[in-house]
């Protein structure tokens, strides 16, 4: 099931037969869910019993868990017992409980790896419960996928020796949460490589993965916020900085001409503000949106790239999950927010890349392109698209994905969506509708969701996918007309918003 989903976003770009395949998979998962509903219910009750027990009697619970856990952990547990008061205080803390979403990572032996909120050290009991649930279902040759109660959803993903758990109180769709966990898993792989993860757990099932992940928690934290606030992640597309295409091509050609003689250079990526400015790739290789998002996340979460040139190992799971690429990472100039990454498989060519970067900066400066980039970056995103100007001001917000280039364009978050709360509410509606669309069989073309606040529309065409929020009173047909008008406008302006042609290195 998980694999089906991991493939899902990419395969959307293939317009032909794939979607039906997906919806089949979705369908199976749905059937499974229904079949397992009873089991889930009973699981839920057993879950709450365990939690109750945990609350009533910590000692029993710790004993129960130690017996399950590897021997070399016993010392940790002595410490854990003394800290049980603290653990209680985390679990009882209103602030912790009030969080809308929790993400946990644990090893299949139940060892805590990561918790989004609260220190995972203080949540040992809870991790034990999660591990117990997963292995309880595994014992009957089944896989625990999700637990539903009220508006709450708990989604599980088991990836080899790693278990990922998402808990949401917002009635998020399973697909959305699964995708989120997929990203988190990819982030872990990106830091360690799949080979390293597998080997480590083959050697020692009870390995404490935190030892290798220290310092990467911030990458995961950052990624989760990124995922929740940036629709291109959920829709698995590339978001670009809008720019007239001759200028973008001029930038790309400077990069390509400078790097053309460097063997083993796989990707050259120029990014700013979580978006792509230019991209070049080695023939036969392409940059998957989800890999690019990991790069964007790393750049955004690492201030240190601003001070010096870095030589950074990064694994791009879709490109190759088992090995590192080596990235020369640096900002174009001190006063330019564009960060250039030259990614290679050769770990010995740092200085060659460093020279290349210098030349790229020189050429870009000489051709006035650095100031072009600076000017573009200075413009607020609100100036990129004007719904009023296009003549569709009844559309309040939209996200458009071009299926062929996998590029994404979204309109600025203007009132009433200019607050974090309101924009999150809207994104939740979007993702729910989008998930429903993909879970429908046969796949629907258009889906409306009405509420007092707005009318949300998801439209899937041959060439594009659109999510839009319109004024609440608007009629269905006029909503569709407006969206069509918008799509036509975007297709006409495509060159400015999208990177339709990725040059070869």
């Amino acid at each position: 099931m998980c694999d089906a989903n991991s493939v899902l976003p990419d395969s959307k770009s293939d317009q032909g037969t794939e979607p039906s395949g997906e919806s089949k998979n979705q369908d199976v998962s749905k059937e499974d869910d229904e079949e397992d509903a009873v089991q889930h219910k009973s699981l839920h009750s057993s879950c709450s019993t365990i939690v109750d027990e945990a609350e009533q009697n910590d000692v029993v619970n710790v004993d129960m868990m130690t017996s399950d856990l590897p021997r070399d952990l016993e010392n940790d547990f002595v410490a854990a017992t003394t800290e049980l008061e603290n653990e209680d205080s985390v679990l009882d803390s209103e602030e912790w409980k009030a969080k809308e979403k929790h993400i946990f990572i644990l090893s299949s032996s139940g060892k805590p790896v990561y918790s989004r909120h609260g220190s995972e050290d203080k949540l040992v009991t809870l991790f034990g419960v999660m591990q117990a649930l997963v292995s309880f279902v595994q014992d009957s040759d089944d896989t625990l996928e999700s637990i539903h109660f009220g508006n709450n959803v708990i989604v599980f993903q088991i990836r080899g020796p790693i278990v990922l758990v998402a808990v949401s109180k917002k009635n998020d769709s399973v697909l959305f949460l699964r995708n989120m966990l997929e990203y988190v898993y990819n982030q872990v792989v990106s830091v360690l490589t799949l080979r390293q993860v597998t080997t480590i757990f083959e050697r020692r099932r009870n390995y404490d993965l935190r030892r290798l992940l220290t310092g990467s928690e911030r990458l995961i934290d950052h990624l989760l916020t990124f995922y929740e606030t940036e629709p291109s992640l959920f829709m698995n597309g590339l978001a670009c900085i809008p720019m007239p295409s001759p200028q973008r091509e001029a930038i790309s050609s400077v990069i390509v001409s400078t790097c053309s003689k460097i063997k083993n250079l796989v990707f050259a990526v120029l990014v700013a503000n979580n978006r792509l400015i230019a991209l070049a790739r080695k023939r036969k290789y392409s940059m998957c949106p989800s890999d690019l998002h990991l790069i964007l996340n790393m750049v955004a979460a690492s201030e240190s790239f601003k001070t010096a040139e870095s030589w950074t190992p990064i694994c791009l799971p879709q490109f190759n999950a088992n090995g590192f690429l080596h990235g020369h990472v640096s900002y174009l100039t001190e006063d330019c927010d564009a960060c250039l990454l030259l990614l290679t498989v050769d770990q010995d060519i740092f200085f060659q890349l460093s020279e290349a970067k210098k030349k790229i900066t020189e050429k870009l400066t000489k051709n006035n392109l650095v100031s072009v980039i600076n000017d573009v970056l200075k413009k607020p995103p609100s100036s990129w698209v004007s719904l009023h100007y296009i003549g569709v001001s009844k559309i309040r917000h939209f996200i458009y994905k071009c299926k062929k280039s996998q590029n994404i364009l979204s309109s600025p978050l203007t009132p009433p969506y200019d607050t974090t709360d309101e924009s999150r509410k809207l994104f939740t509606k979007y993702q729910n509708l989008y998930s429903k669309m993909f879970e429908s069989n046969p796949q629907l073309q258009v889906l409306f969701q009405e509420s007092d606040e707005e009318r949300v529309v998801c439209l899937i065409g041959e060439k594009f996918e659109v999510l839009a929020a319109l004024e609440p009173v608007i009629k269905k047909q006029s909503a569709l007309d407006l969206i069509n008008k918008l799509c036509q406008w975007i297709q006409k302006e495509e060159d400015r918003f999208f990177i339709t042609n990725v040059p070869y290195l």
Binding site: T214, G215, A301, S310, W311, T312, P313, Q347, D348
Partner: protein, 204 residues
């Protein structure tokens, strides 16, 4: 690389800063190169490269400094960062016993792989102990004894106040300077016989 041939007066030297995570390697580098200090630091990913020229009279040493990540996950790829290094500054946090233990394993590893690389021991965060915020985690006699056994100079510095940071790097520069000037013949032979590029990557 090409600079070697263009200016004969200048000496290039690769320096690597290693040590356990959170020991203050990046802070040390930033204090030396940019004369600044940032209290809150995020972890280095991989390694960062900076260079700084240190003058000795009319001549200069071009220090290529690699500031590496201290986390365990990069341990397997550390070799590529310290390969061919002329000097390694091994840092430990003077308030943290664990980082001292890690220092010993770094020293052993680098000695084993790069026997010609000079080692320098640097205790960091001197200000924290000086101001009484935390007691020292390692006894200074212990450091002295170990450093002598290793024939490595040791120093305690503070990147926050800047104390001893320049002293450390000029100590490094002096040692490398001496080394270069003591064996001029040998260096000439090397650079004549082999393509210049080899200076950086032997395996290439």
């Amino acid at each position: 690389m090409a600079r070697d041939s263009s200016s004969k007066k200048r000496v290039d030297a690769k320096i690597v800063i290693v040590g356990s995570s959170g020991a203050g390697k990046t802070a040390l580098m930033e204090r030396f190169v940019y004369s600044k200090f940032t209290q809150v630091r995020v972890q280095t990913i991989g390694a960062t490269y900076v260079s700084k020229e240190v003058f000795r009279g009319k001549e200069s040493i071009h220090l290529s400094i690699w500031d590496t990540a201290g986390t365990e996950r990069y341990r397997s790829m550390m070799k590529q960062y310290y390969r061919n290094a002329k000097g390694a500054i091994i840092c430990y946090d003077i308030t943290d016993k664990h980082s001292w233990d890690a220092l010993r394993s770094w020293a052993t590893e680098i000695r084993g792989n790069e026997p010609d690389c000079r080692l320098f021991i640097c205790g960091t965060k001197k200000d924290i102990v000086d101001e009484g915020y935390a007691p020292p985690g390692v006894h200074s006699d212990c450091v002295k004894f170990y450093a002598e056994g290793l024939q490595a100079p040791s120093i305690v510095s503070s990147s926050k106040t800047g104390e001893n940071v320049d002293a450390l790097f000029s100590m490094v520069a002096d040692e490398l300077w001496e080394e270069v000037h003591q064996k001029p013949l040998k260096k000439d032979v090397v650079s004549l016989d082999k393509p210049v590029r080899r200076n950086c990557c032997y395996s290439a």
